[in-house]
């Protein structure tokens, strides 16, 4: 293939990509700072608590939790260890599975999440949803659905590969 055959982004796609990346990075960094400052945890930990709070019995197998927060098992395990130290999550062996583990949200973890939620939601509303027209809200939902559908299978395979590689790179 010659260089001229390669499909680079068009000028318009390039502009949208740069603008989107910068805006999203700034937005996510802001959400992270707000949660660290006001609730003492990074946004990644908040999302783990949210997922557990919505599960039956406020508990999930580690593998299911990793999928819900788009994390490798090893990175999730590191986060759950920190959340255990804070008393927000407990971890125990899954029934009938010697290798499986279940993470459960504690009462302290639930109370912390309930206290953190209004501040976090206010930031998400102020810096995203309050800026959108109804048409933009619909478009954002449709774009996310298309991306999600395309990514789902790819990421399952890749997360499994991450887990296999983890013993080697010390993650």
């Amino acid at each position: 293939m010659t260089d001229s055959d390669f499909r680079w982004l068009t000028d318009e796609e390039q502009r949208v990509w740069r603008t989107f990346m910068q805006a999203y990075r700034d937005f996510n960094a802001h959400l992270d700072r707000q949660l660290r400052r006001d609730s003492g945890m990074p946004v990644a930990y908040y999302e783990i608590l949210v997922m557990l709070s919505e599960a039956p019995g406020r508990a999930l197998r580690m593998g299911e939790l990793a999928e819900k927060v788009s994390s490798s098992r090893s990175r999730l395990s590191h986060a759950v260890t920190a959340l255990e130290k804070s008393g927000y999550v407990s971890r125990c062996a899954a029934d009938g599975d010697r290798r499986g583990q279940v993470a459960t949200l504690t009462e302290t973890g639930y109370a912390t999440l309930v206290a953190a939620a209004p501040g976090h939601v206010t930031e998400v509303r102020t810096h995203l949803f309050d800026l959108l027209t109804p048409e933009q809200l619909k478009a954002l939902g449709d774009i996310a659905e298309s991306m999600g559908a395309k990514m789902r299978g790819v990421c399952e395979v890749e997360r499994a590969q991450d887990d296999e590689g983890c013993a080697d790179d010390g993650c």
Copy 2:
């Protein structure tokens, strides 16, 4: 304020938010894995090389570079140290400013970026731009513009605060 006064996300906003967050996290994790696997660097380092490659003389003051990649000065400094070790970037004192430093893309760094770009752009195209209708491309650009304009001032202040706090938390 009572709980009923608080503006939680509507069901539709909540659905869009969850779908978007999961899709974006998966997408970004995928871009990161592809670049680590094929070009030996995380996506955050690739973006630093891109910004330097487009600057006059392929060089930027560290503060300007931090702003362009939405990073705190301390996190950027860590990344640039790693890029120096790889021989992709050099760093030296800025003329006429005892405290300032300038990062410059080396020839090796530029060649590495040129080699990495087609693989990265293919993933961005496959998993995002090829999925969008022209209307969705326009909507995504408009949404990103609104978010970016709203975030810009907030993040400048917050990044400065991050830098001030860095000596304390060891980042």
